[in-house]
Structure formats: C-alpha cells, structure tokens
C-alpha cells in the first residue's frame, strides 16, 4: 500500500513530509518511533474510512447480493431454498398485482414529485426576495420535515376522511360533492401524494434557496436593465443557473418515490398492507412486504426488490443521457 507520489489534482491533501521523515525532536529518525509514525501515516486513512465500508458490506452489499440470489429461489419464511431460476421474475411479469403496483408506484410518484418540486421552486423564489421574517418562514415550511411518516399519515387520513374529514367539508362549502378519498383510485392516490408533498416541499425549497443564493447578482441587474420582468428573470436566469440542483432533487425524489411504503400503509389503516380495498394504491414496496411477510414468499419478494433496483438504475441511466445530450446542445449552441 504505497502512497502515490504524484501530486493530487484535486483538493490539497496531506502527504508524508518530503525528504527524511520528520520524527519528533530529540529522537533517532531511523528508530521504531519513526517507523511507527510512517505506518500511522499510511494506515490511518483506511482506519478512518473502514467503519463505513464494514457497515456497508455487512448491512448493504451482502444483503443486496443475497437478495439477488434469493430472487432466483423458491423460498418460504423459515423454509429451505429451492432453485427456480428466473421463475420468480416471469411470475411477476404474469401477475396483475405486480403491474398494478408498478403503475401505482409510477403514478403516485409523478403526482407527488412534480407538484412538490414545482412548488418548492416557487417557494424558494419567494424566499429569495428581501422579506421580513424570512427566518420564520423557513422554519415553518421545514416543520413538516420533522414530522414522521406515521404521524403525518394518521393526521391526513383524518383530514381526508370521506364522511367527516375537513377536506370534504371545505369542498362542501364551495359546492363540491364529497370525494371518496379512500376507496376511489385517483382520489386515494392524490391523498397519499399530498402527504408526501406536504412533508418534502419545504425541504426541497430550502435546497433550491441555497442554490439560488449562489447565483451572481450582476446577472439579475443586467437583465433588469434590459427590461426583463421578475418572472422572466426567474425563467431565464434562476432556473438555468440552478439546474444541477434541480437534477439532484429530481434524482433524490425519484429514489424516494420508488420506495414509497409508510404513507400508503398507514393511510389505509387495516387495509393498508394491500394498498386499499382494491389494491388501488398498493405500491411496489407494499407488494413486496405483502409477498414476503404476509404470504411468506421471500423469493418473490426478493425479485420485486431487484426489479426496484433495476428500475432505479434505468432511471439513473436516462437521467445521465438527458444531462449529457443537454450539455452537447449547449456546446453546439456555443460553437454556432
């Protein structure tokens, strides 16, 4: 494990002092202390990063691979494994429950992520103005982030109750008939998305805000001189400037949406694990839990988990391709 001698191109780093090792004063430089010192210098980086990698290997990587292996087996809770090859995956492909859960995960993901990020952008834009009491607004919009999934889902389940919930009461005041938030597919998915959106909008707004504050002020001043409206400035300066941050939040929210579990589970009460009376909001995670811990089919549950991973990899690939083609477009524009 020799340390490399080339200077690092990145940030400044520490290396062994050049020339003879500088041992503590009054000590023989070639003695055991100096050797110890050198070992200390070379080995400690690995000691510092070791805990992360040990924990990851034991509780992340090994289970990940083991889940992949399990997904090729027929295995029950507490039972022996039996080779099945891709059988679990072909079964999933033939299962209506799987396609239903996949579609639900997608639709709930879209109707929670898109409004959430758009509203967060708008909020960040507002908070970026010089306003009084902005400290208060920042803490206030972040408060939902401190609320647990379970508590939020329980409160919203009451607010969305079909018979006595406050949402239907409010709709009643403007002359809209009570909506069946629990049993009808789209209302139920909207209700669940509302919980997600409520919890995460403020968090994303603060991330955008931080990025917006790094945008140089001259850009806005120049635009104002050219007579650009504030909205125009927002579209033409702010959004392009914080694009990397927007991409980052899209990726993070997509990962979160793919894993959606607690909100539908608790929103549904005793029907939560099935994702409602007609599985109208059963997500992939819920289906995986049902297969693994209610039915006891761990092999199939593992296959669902791996489908989720493949989905995320596909999304990551698409995102990378998109950002690359965007960069090419920019280059092209610069050249022409």
């Amino acid at each position: 494990m020799a340390t490399s001698l080339q200077p690092d191109k990145g940030a400044a780093v520490i290396d062994a002092p050049s020339g003879a090792p500088r041992a503590p004063k009054h000590r023989d430089p070639s003695g055991w202390r100096s050797r110890l010192y050198r070992i200390d210098l070379k080995a400690t980086p690995y000691v510092y990063v070791a805990p992360f990698f040990l924990v990851f290997a034991a509780f992340g990587l090994f289970p990940l691979l083991y889940t992949g292996w399990l997904s090729l087996q027929k295995v029950e809770l507490g039972g022996e494994a039996e080779w099945r090859g891709l059988g679990n995956y072909t079964r999933l492909a033939e299962s209506d429950f799987f396609w239903n859960a996949l579609a639900n995960t997608f639709t709930i993901g879209v109707i929670s992520t898109v409004p959430q990020l758009l509203m967060a952008l708008g909020l960040a834009h507002l908070l970026n103005y010089r306003i009084r009491g902005r400290g208060f607004y920042r803490v206030a919009i972040l408060a939902p982030y401190a609320t647990s999934i379970a508590a939020a889902a329980l409160v919203f389940a009451q607010l969305f109750n079909t018979d006595y919930g406050m949402i239907n009461q409010l709709l009643g005041y403007v002359g809209i008939d009570p909506v069946n938030w629990e049993t009808e597919k789209w209302p139920a998915q909207i209700a669940i998305s509302t919980i997600v959106t409520w919890r995460w909008t403020g968090y994303n707004a603060l991330i955008y805000l931080a990025a917006m504050q790094a945008v140089p002020n001259d850009l806005y001043e120049a635009a104002a001189l050219d007579g650009a409206s504030r909205f125009r400035q927002f579209i033409s300066i702010t959004i392009p400037s914080i694009k990397p941050t927007i991409l980052f939040t899209i990726v993070v929210s997509t990962i979160g949406a793919t894993q959606l579990f607690g909100e539908p589970l608790i929103f549904g009460g005793s029907l939560g694990i099935g994702g409602g009376s007609g599985n109208q909001y059963q997500t992939l995670s819920l289906l995986m839990y049902e297969k693994g811990w209610v039915t006891g089919a761990l092999g199939q549950a593992s296959a669902i988990a791996w489908v989720m991973l493949l989905l995320l990899l596909a999304i990551g690939l698409v995102q990378r391709l998109l950002s690359r083609s965007n960069a090419q477009k920019k280059n092209g524009a610069a050249r022409s």
Binding site: M1, A11, A12, V13, I14, D15, P17, R22, P24, D40, L41, P45, Y48, V49, F52, V55, F56, G60, F62, Y66, L123, G135, Y137, R138, A140, L142, A143, P144, A146, T147, S148, A150, A151, A153, L154, V155, A157, Q158, N161, G165, M166, W198, G202, I207, A210, T245, F248, V251, G262, S270, G272, L284, S285, G292, W293, A301, A305, M308, L309, L312
Partner: protein, 267 residues
Amino acid sequence: MTYALLVFAAVVSLFPLYWNLVAASHTGERVVQAPSPLLPGRELFNNLSIAWNQVDMGEALINTTIVAGAVATSTVLFATLAGFAFAKLRFKGRNVLLAVVVATMTVPPQLSVIPLYQLITEFGWVNQLQSVILPSLVAAFGVFFMRQYLLEALPVELIEAARMDGAHSLRIIWHVVFPIARPAMAVLGMLIFVQAWNDFFWPFIALTPDGAPTLQVALAGLGSGNHTVNHAIVLTGAFIATVPLLLVFALLGKHIVGGITSGAVKS
C-alpha cells in the same frame, strides 16, 4: 403578493400539526363529527394518559430516543473520520472509494431487508433495538456531508504543523479536526437524529408493536387496530411522537435550516 403566498405556505405547513393538537384534545366522538373542531378542547391530558397506557408510549419514547441517539452519535463520529480522510488525506483508491460511498446513497433499503430479517431472526434479535441501530451506524450521506465541509473549513497547513510537532493521528483528530468540524458535526447530528427518529420501513419489519417498538412502529399499531379505533387516541399518539422533534426544531430550527442549505446542495 409575495407575503400572501408565503403566509399561505406557512399556514399549509403548520395547520396539520396544529390540527393534530386540536384532535388530541377532544374526545374520540367529537373528532369524527363534522364540522371538525378547530379549537383545542379539554381532553388532552385524559387522552395522553389513555394513549400512554394503551401501547406504552413511554417505552416507545425511550426506545426511539435510544435508537436516534445511538445512530446520530455513531454516524457523526464515523462520518467525521471518513469525511476527514476523503477530504484531506491521500491514500490509494481514494477516489474510487468515494465514488462507492456516493453510489450507495441510491440503493433503496428494500434491497437488504429480507436477508437482514433472516439474520436477526437467526440471532434472536427480532424486537431488539440493536437490529435497528447496527445497520445505521454510519451513513453515506454523513460521510459526504463531512467531506464537503472539511474540504473548505480545514486548512492543510494546520495538520502539517501538527505533524511537524510530532502529533500522531489520534491527537490530530482530537485537537485539530474535531474542533474545526464541530459546527458541521452538530448539524449532521441533528439531521441524522431527525431521520432516525422518523425512520419507518426497517423498524416496522424488525420491531413489532407488542415488542419493543419505536414510536413510529407503535403508531402504526395504534392506527391499524382491527377493533373500533378511537381516533382521538391515535392522534394523541401521533402528537406524542411529533412534539419532541418540534421542540428541537423550535430551539434549533435555524441551524437545521442552515445545515440543509449548506450540505445537501453540493453534489
């Protein structure tokens, strides 16, 4: 206009929390009546004592504090060490290892729960808090967060000077790295504490409401009883689970806001 929209956003953010308190202070019958109560009632203490006993919220509260405290402490410690190494030390494979750290952030927990569940069953750890603590001892996000901070906050000259004076690594960590990293460590500690306090998926699998649940697992149990559910009691439980974090927020909200805006962005 700006103010109107911001006030609206603040109201929408805070109202469900306020209504949670209102519902927790009425009887179960009143909560399920339209029009819904909008002002606090008089049943809060009565509801608290019922909820407290029904699922042993006291034990859940202690369990959650232990889990979140242990996870936050160890994450901050290990993440600072690893973040320091990635930011300021040179070693073979540094860039590759850092890439691995970042990549692990995208792996969903669903991928590991089945083997983990088999593992804790094997060890007899179902309903034991260590089954929730151990997998969370250190988080990739924390390592990355500390690296970003130390990259700028820690001058290399300081470490070099300490080395010239003959300080060994532990001394440098203790006397140079930790004091400089302290603000970031505090923020990371709060973020991880909030996250661990609210964690649901794995605790829901590893702990049962009748065993040694965390608050979130206890709440899930309260909300999905097969017999008639008293919604005031359920929401009182939700209130108990939320209040400690809201207090933390009221006291340290500014710093948490600062932490989110400083650390999460630079990707």
